[in-house]
Symmetry: C2
Subunit: 407 residues, 2 copies
């Protein structure tokens, strides 16, 4: 069993870095706060005697050797970056739980059969740079390194430049360095189901597919007073039209389909100027890749129709497409068995959020452990998981990983 107090203490330590007034985090990828939490994590890994590697995309690995040099490592981790005004558990709990697993092995002088690696992936959140799960995606060979280096944030700052600026463009190649045994990731559920069903912990069987993208409308900035209504090409009126459809589309697609506009930029954004240029995002998710295709086609059809109604020029880009992933039974069972051994009331659950496990699953056997999220809230400062639920999930992770590393 891991040490609950130490887990809690370490969680509180990391939560100091990039903390917000209301007890959340503002720790966007490659920001100064991200650098600070990376430095902190580096030190923690050093203190445990791990062999540390930072790859050329900033993914941070810490390795603990096993008894058998022939065996593939068991990889365990998550991410330390956050949303703007996000919570302190999303990502961080998975990294801290991985660290706590190592500390427990060290305390108890356990030598595992397989080596163990823990990992902090770069830019899981996908808020500042898209796509989400960018570091694991590059590492798994699902994205091109140079294409991702060239991504820019809202201010036009290049990814690679920021990575160099914070000193985390590492030496090793961003790719699997060996034939891994398997991947496990602990994460908070971020949805309401475990709590609603009164469960202790979740065994994750797969992850929904996504489409994310953005539409930019070009209308004509003009005066909101003397410009007759029928002269107007109002980029915001067009955008509002589509956003109301994005709220409605999931109802026409599937039981588990969700869709939102999270981000919007209005220019020139003056009360008495008709908006000349508006960019807004879409995001749809569903367990079925066909439904994701359909959502993508429908949102573009809506965007085209609104552009026509409002006489706007427009362009769009898809910023992320991730297929739905089904985890393999080996690792799902490893998590399930660990929960059973520990006598936790567990349930199988399909993830509605994306995780680095999506990409890991392309490379090796993968599963995840979900901790109960109070009220299912996430990507907000109100995100909350009790220390008991943190412990339950971290213990499940540690035991599942130990089992995988022992075989």
């Amino acid at each position: 069993n891991i040490d609950q107090d130490r887990l809690e203490g370490t969680m509180k330590e990391q939560a100091q870095i990039g903390s917000t007034e209301n007890g959340g985090l503002y720790r966007l990828t490659l920001s100064d706060e991200d650098k600070e939490v990376r430095d902190w994590f580096y030190k923690q890994m050093e203190a445990e005697g791990l062999e540390i590697r930072v790859d050329e995309f900033g993914n941070m690995f810490g390795r603990r050797e096993g008894r058998n040099a022939e065996k593939g490592a068991v990889l365990v981790g998550s991410h330390l970056d956050s949303q703007p005004y996000g919570g302190i558990y999303d990502g961080a709990l998975g990294v801290v739980a991985a660290l706590e697993f190592i500390r427990t092995l060290n305390d108890e002088d356990i030598i595992t059969e397989h080596p163990i690696e823990i990992v902090n992936w770069t830019n899981e959140e996908g808020s500042r740079y898209q796509p989400a799960m960018q570091g694991s995606g590059v590492w798994a060979g699902n994205h091109d390194l140079y294409e991702e280096y060239n991504k820019t944030d809202e201010e036009g700052v290049r990814f690679e430049d920021e990575l160099e600026r914070i000193g985390y463009k590492g030496e090793t190649s961003a790719e699997p360095s060996e034939d891994y045994e398997g991947y496990l990731e602990l994460h908070i559920e971020q949805g309401p189901y475990l709590e609603e069903k009164g469960k202790d912990v979740g065994i994750v069987t797969g992850i929904v597919g996504f489409t994310w993208g953005a539409v930019t409308y070009y209308g004509e900035a003009d005066h909101t007073g003397p410009t007759p209504m029928h002269y107007r090409k109002d980029a915001l009126a067009g955008a509002a039209d589509v956003i109301t459809q994005i709220r409605r589309l999931p109802n026409m697609l599937g039981e588990r389909t969700v869709g939102s506009t999270g981000h919007m930029d209005v220019q020139p954004n003056s009360i008495n100027t008709i908006p000349g240029e508006v960019t807004f995002t879409w995001g749809f998710r569903d367990p079925s890749d066909e439904i994701i295709d359909e959502a993508f086609n429908r949102v573009l059809a809506e965007a085209e129709a609104a552009a026509e109604r409002e006489s706007l020029d427009w362009e769009w880009e898809e910023r992320m497409r991730a297929p739905s992933v089904d985890f393999d039974e080996t690792n799902i069972n490893a998590v399930e068995n660990a929960a059973e051994e520990l006598e936790y009331d567990a349930m199988r659950i399909f993830s509605g959020a994306g995780h680095d496990a999506t990409h890991a699953a392309d490379i090796m056997d993968t599963s995840m452990v979900f901790a109960v999220s109070e009220n299912g809230k996430s990507h907000t400062e109100e995100e909350f998981t009790t220390w008991d639920h943190c412990y339950t999930a971290a213990n499940t992770l540690a035991n599942a990983a130990l089992n995988l590393a022992t075989e």
Copy 2:
């Protein structure tokens, strides 16, 4: 006749201050650029020997004495502040034309019967601080000085603090210092009508009424993935709903009713977070005050209905209400006679934009001269008026003002 080359040269001079890459202006009220253009204007007035006053709200006056100390001054002016990415004519042409009028009187050693004052009003645009026409509104006694001092911009910066910072919180009281003879203001039309009708210049008979305001929706920031659709309280979906109605409402109200949302703020504005808080503005205008009342009632009803649909908390504030204004015949005729004397093809026109003349009209006889706007575009860098049309309008203004000052 005024000097067309000098008018053009002076217009180009002011257009250097706060200029944008694409030949427009970014000269928000009380910004560093506003300070710079005020300093420039101060020097121009000094060079013409005017007696300068800056009042406690930053309104800048320059006085040229007349022959008869008993007679009220003729006041002529406009504003030097701009929209974000606005044009170089909006406001500035009226101030430069007033200056050019003074220069011409000085060149030709004309002593008028009445004194003449020229004026640069503070914050006509209403983009950074609402309401628009704030300086003239305070001066005319239509707004409370201290209430306006306490207004804050998007960043929370107080009006009075900014006014002090740029050194334009003057000594004199912000109120009419005497019994003025009348007010004249030259402005670009900002609409398409003069050009469409092939006219040289416009004689302005009045100004539409306005309601401006903002709605803030409070939903729940949450994850766009694992949050079931029916759990969501999406502040942006609610806002989009109302914005589509704002595009549609004018069609149900009146022939000349216009309405738009120009400004919007989305929080936390992350692609994968359901927006928890959104503020958006409304603006409606019409020549009828009853229709403005109706637009105000309707937009609040729409906002309430959308808040209910989306389960949002909400609040609203009206940021500006200006009644429709009819100018008096004395000054309308003065402009009309001047245009006739100069053999310009003029037409009477009702303004769809607000102007400082709205408030001046509460104090004294008022009218305006409109210069032809190419394509009617304004509040954009593409705003354009030919130098010939600038000259025609400025000459009309000068002759109308001279007639008023001569009687």
